[in-house]
Amino acid sequence: MFRRRRRADDFAEEIKSHLELEADELRSEGLSEDEAHRRARVEFGNVQTAQERFYLRSRVLWFDNLLRDVKFAIRQLVRNPSFAVVAILVLALGIGASVAIFAFVDAALLEPLPYSNPNRLMAVSESSVESPRWPLSYPDFLDWKAQNKSFTSLDVYSWSGFLLSAGSGAEPVRAMRVSGGFFQALGVHPMLGRDFNPGEDRPGGPNVVILSYGTWVHRFGARLNLIGQTVDLDNNAYTIIGVLPRSFSFAPGGNAEFWTPINVLSPHEHSRTFYPFLGIGRLRDGITAQSAQTEITAIAKQLQREYGITGRDLSANVAPLSEVVVGDVQPILLTLLGGAGLLLLIAYVNVSSLVLVRSENRRREIAVRGALGATRARLVKQFVTEGLLLAAFGTGAGIILAAVLIRLLARLVPKDMASNMPFLDGVGPNAHTVAFSAGIALLAALLLAATPVLRLSFQRVRDGLSEGGRGASSQLWRRLGANLVVVELAIAVVLLAGAGLLGRSFYQLLHVPLGFDPNHLATVEVAVPGAVYTASGQATELYREVVSRASSLPGVESAGLTRMLPVQCNCPTDGIRIEGRPYHGEHNEVNERHVNASYLPTLKARLVRGRFFTEADDSSMPGVAVINQALARKYFPGQDPIGQSIADDEGGRPSEWQIVGVVDDIHEGPLDLDIAPTEYFSVNQTGDHNFTLVVRSSQDAGALLPMLVSMLHQIDPGLGVSDEATMIDEIDATQAALLHRFSAWLVGGFAAMALILGIVGLYGVIAYSVSQRTREIGVRMALGAQRRSVYGLVMQQAGWLTAAGLAIGLICSIGTSVLIRSLLFGVQAWDAVTLVSVALLLGLASMSASFLPARRAASVNPVEALRAE
């Protein structure tokens, strides 16, 4: 198709040869040499002009035309800046929001794992009726690892923590215990030093530790000679053998700083029924997750038979690791993407109708240009250029907006949570986001180019010349514009309903009965060095001193201790049985909390029966327990639990606990989960070390926090003090609260924008229709129509459009609400209150938007309206 262009000097050569040939011929006709040359030149005409024309014709014509069209389009847009600005802003809004959200979705759902061959990595765990991801026991792990043929490697990890001895005292640090092949399974190599050696993860293995990159930089000054040196963890010397690369993160591990091999097992961990570990496996080639699950399940069942483990019906669960990492965020991200998509749609529709109005207003200009000889193709080209230009500017502005939004959104995610979402680092421009943006831009371009072209082809150009032009064309526009507005309103309804439901869910979540008073509570986590406080009596003394010193701080009403704050987690748990009842190894799972005597009163928990703990409930006395009402209801229906005993099967402590009290349900687990049965033990009888101090203040709890920290350090500089926060902040920072807050606010934002766009669209249609009907209204009024009936005329039109939009929107929103039901809490997808409120809001907004044009219509002066023709 494309052959090489002929060059201008070749052309000049041809002309030269022409002149010579001509001169030859003239000479042969008898002219002198000079005369022949002169005549040849004269005959040819202007050589320069010919060459110039040759040069000009070889220029790219379409480019010249394009340039001209673009210049013309810019002139058109500048002539009507409000149209251009509004159209570009609306486009930018839609495009910006969706590109930003897509960037997150891409990072989270498409590229969540920064490992080699991440799609072959599986999360491997046991699975029970209560929880599909039931952790593994250590003996089971060893057997699974030895017997399976599905995985090239199988490894486990578990959270832990150390007290790091530093110059200023002890500091609690987060750590992970992993089996030896863990990093190899992920395909991660330490950037400094080495990975664990084979055998280092066997019981009795050496104390070695691998550091996270951040730890290496912040705690050890990024020293290159660090490898081989020791660090003091829990008063044991650990040899630093490696530093992980900067890009490494392991979402389930959060921001763990120290990674140690599992080579010290607690007495519990030797048990086949103690489940602290989670597994990751790398699938062998050709093996599917499904077949791996089948194999592991068979192995698990076999082991249960072999070791006579009954009661707990466990099978195995093999699922892609990415699902586990992304799990909680997936529905919210998809919801947000949907919301952003709807906003984009509304923006497209809005701008299309703007373009339509504009082409309507330029009807006469088009007609004049058509009459002056512009071909349809030429006119179409100009409109297309204008559309493309708008789309380009809109997309450009949208991408800038997206960049800003991405930063803002990433900052909205609290740090603690962000560390569980390593994929957040990957948010930004990459092949996917660029392709997505390009697709969206292309769609915008198509839409903006196609709309006026469609409009042009519907209209016979010369119709536009006839004055007034109330022909079929304005009819058509009215219908098309009206239909588009109905679409906008319907989308606005869908988004409003979604936002309403999510907002109500969030409200419900924050108003879940907690069973205690979270206000004015200050909390501090304390890690107690086990090597120092060896005898349980020493720990008891420490608890007493902490509580008594905290209670005597100014403004403090009371202080208590717990192992685990409420509203965090339905964990740790305990398997119990009821004394005096036949037991067949059923798994009775309950939350287990270790608290001191003053804890429950400090929370202002309500005692239902019996008593709370006292200081007398110590290790010298028989074990006592307080249970919550959920436990009482479930295991003692219709009985008085007081005086009965529960037993657990974990060694090392009194295994029998007499129930001395029943407390009204405290919300121990996450806000969006139901109350779980919970047992409370006295911390003086359980031999714990670490605890969280909870202090009720009569004033601002936040002001108390620094005082608590310094008080604890005064008691013992070796105590690790961390995570000081008020109870309200602790609750607000829980994943459940964050996710619901995030989705409610974002979808709320989308809905607000959608409402504004929809209402502006409606206003545009009504105002335009009034301006087109001025004469008609004039005639009506001249014939005696009252102003009231003119109002009615206009409002009725608006009313119909609104009603249609509402009806369609409400039906659709029930569908979409069902889609987002996993994000709903305490509200049904068809929540009547929300839907009615949305209808009212949109109805009111529409009516006020159409009131202005209606007023203009009613104030039409019939004389002037008729004279204007």
Binding site: R6, E14, D24, E25, N46, F54
Partner: protein, 124 residues
């Protein structure tokens, strides 16, 4: 299309009508390949010196026809040993020639009918 040469020809030669130059070139090439100067001479001679060929336009027309692949060109040597660019008809060009010729004949016939008929009626 054609820009007229800047100097006005004093004689009664006619500038070639828009669109007809292509046809004349194709016709000239039916007998075999020729260079540009030969084509110009041939058109002038065959029209009994009535047509005046603007050479600039001629060469642009040749270029255009070449771009359309109705004719093809290659450098060669003339009878009197001059280097020249020779043009020849392609198969596509031959087709076009037939089509354009019949078109032109219909046009001239129609023009003739009207012009002759009009004058005779006026006489009545």
């Amino acid at each position: 299309m054609g820009r007229m040469p800047s100097q006005h020809s004093p004689d009664d030669r006619i500038a070639i009508l828009q669109g007809t130059l292509d046809l004349l070139i194709l016709k000239t090439l039916v007998l075999g390949q020729r260079h540009g100067q030969g084509i110009a001479r041939s058109i002038q001679r065959q029209s009994e010196e009535v047509f005046f060929v603007d050479h600039g336009s001629l060469y642009l027309a040749l270029q255009r026809l070449e771009d359309k692949r109705w004719i093809s060109a290659k450098w060669g040597v003339s009878e009197n040993n001059r280097k020249a660019r020779f043009y020849s008809l392609t198969a596509k060009g031959r087709e076009q020639l037939l089509e354009k010729t019949s078109e032109w004949q219909r046009l001239t016939r129609a023009m003739g009918l009207i012009l002759d008929g009009g004058s005779s009626r006026e006489e009545v």
